[in-house]
């Protein structure tokens, strides 16, 4: 049976992981390669590396980092941040990434999804969506959640799937960082799409992961700080989910 995926997300700035971690057994928790390898050994199913560097030089550093990650990791990984055009996708796939995650650039130019799918296949194309709840609906935001677009979440997600996206990575800006759980209702609605949905933002406990799979029907759950700060350990989380009847790779 296809397993639900647990995905730690690492934010990278100038080739280093940001947000401190308290892993005492790591020589250098700031090294994304070492942190990625540790998560892989703990049973992470995939990893996401998000480049939050703004500069051109930083992009070059990130590409070199992707090459190092690819040579070390034996599980799939997605990279995102700063992907504006097809040539960025090609550069990162060439460096060894399995998938790319595109956010603002796809909202500004939806045709980019079609070109990525046509050139590299849907399976490499993750569309990340940041949205905020507005009454009964959700509005999509650009540039890390700073710029409202007026576009509605469910319409945009359906359009992305039609255009050839391979997955939707949905972050609720209302839930992100609050640790009160994932927005399961919105996720369950997104899961009616024909492509997998990754839930991101809101995890604070093991129960939240159970909920996002059982009620939110997500294919995968992504989290950052609960893993980085050791609040939830991946082996314990996976044992818990497995005991609760969720298909999980142990």
């Amino acid at each position: 049976m296809l397993a639900k995926r647990i995905i730690p997300c690492l934010d990278i700035c100038n080739g280093r992981t940001v947000k401190g971690t308290n892993f005492v057994n790591l020589r250098d928790a700031g090294d994304p390669v070492e942190l990625g390898r540790m998560y892989s050994e703990q049973g992470a199913d995939e990893l996401v590396f998000l480049d939050i560097t703004a500069s051109f030089e930083g992009r070059k550093t990130f590409t070199e980092l992707v090459q190092r990650i690819a040579s070390v990791l034996s599980i799939p990984f997605t990279v995102g941040g700063g992907i504006h055009e097809l040539s960025d996708v090609e550069r990162l796939l060439q460096a060894g990434a399995d998938k790319v995650s595109v956010n603002s650039a796809a909202l500004k130019n939806p045709g980019l999804i079609d070109s990525i799918a046509a050139n590299f296949g849907s399976q490499v194309c993750t569309i990340a969506i940041d949205a905020r709840q507005n009454g009964n609906d959700w509005e999509c935001f650009l540039n890390g959640g700073r710029v409202p677009t007026g576009r509605r979440l469910f319409e945009w997600a359906a359009e992305a799937a039609d255009r050839g996206a391979g997955e939707i990575l949905f972050t609720s800006m209302d839930h992100d960082g609050v640790k009160n759980g994932y927005p399961c209702e919105a996720l369950a609605r997104l899961s009616e799409l024909p492509i997998p949905v990754i839930a991101s933002g809101g995890a604070g406990s093991k129960e939240h992961f159970l909920e996002v799979f059982a009620k939110g029907k997500a294919s995968a759950a992504l989290a950052a700080s609960v893993f980085h700060f050791g609040q939830i350990s991946i082996p314990e989380l996976k044992q818990y989910l497995c005991r609760s009847g969720i298909p999980i790779r142990i």
């Binding site: 049976m1 296809l2 397993a3 995926r5 892989s40 199913d45 690819a70 040579s71 070390v72 034996s74 599980i75 799939p76 796939l93 060894g96 399995d98 590299f120 296949g121 849907s122 399976q123 490499v124 391979g166 997955e167 899961s191 009616e192 799409l193 024909p194 492509i195 997998p196 294919s219 995968a220 790779r249």
Partner: protein, 196 residues
């Protein structure tokens, strides 16, 4: 050991090379016919589209070369599919090493997503690639087309329906999943192939 990785117009070639590197083998990435024929083992990796890849192989006379190889050959993902007779992807005639067609997943509902992407279990019928696999192991899949069960099925996976996760006939081996992305289980499969 002299391991050749077939070079062609596909993605995912580097991840196979990295995985072999981690096992202490430095493979030769080549489309040179003599080098392929002289190798101890040949790996036919692949992420791509069936029809355009078959065209490329035919234009470079690699289709006949692959079929004629006598050493152990391992096809991965699209590599497995191209070793079959025909693919629904682009209505492509394929190599015909395994006498079975490649079909597209047809889900009954949106609960079954296509592509089949993620970790799924394999149950193994064959003890060459899967030597030492005494329980169902999780491996990593990404694909929208599948090979049905057939006399050469070496491992089975169930998604929408049971299908061939792996094939084996004589010196030809193939996996639908990506051993190079399947953690320690995948490393054992690659090692078993190198040990043949």
């Amino acid at each position: 050991m002299n391991v050749a990785v077939l070079k062609y117009n596909a993605g995912n070639i580097h991840s196979v090379i990295h995985a072999l590197d981690r096992l202490g083998v430095t493979p030769l990435l080549t489309d040179d016919i003599e080098q392929l024929q002289a190798a101890d083992k040949v790996i036919f990796p692949g992420v791509g589209e069936a029809a355009t890849t078959m065209q490329y192989l035919q234009q470079h006379n690699l289709d006949a070369v692959i079929k004629g190889l006598r050493q152990p050959v391992l096809g991965i993902c699209l590599g497995q599919q191209l070793m079959c007779t025909h693919s629904e992807e682009g209505d492509a005639g394929c190599l015909g090493i395994f006498d079975v067609p490649v079909l597209r997943f047809k889900p009954d509902s949106n609960e079954d997503k296509v592509p089949h992407m993620g970790w799924n279990t394999i149950s193994c019928q064959d003890q060459v690639l899967f030597k030492g696999f005494d329980k169902d192991e999780y491996v990593y899949f990404v694909h929208s087309y599948y090979v049905p069960l057939c006399p050469w099925t070496a491992a089975t996976t169930e998604y929408i329906l049971p299908f061939s996760a792996s094939l084996h006939r004589d010196n030809f081996f193939a996996t639908q999943f990506h051993p190079e992305k399947s953690g320690t289980a995948g490393e054992r499969i690659l090692k078993n192939f190198l040990d043949i």
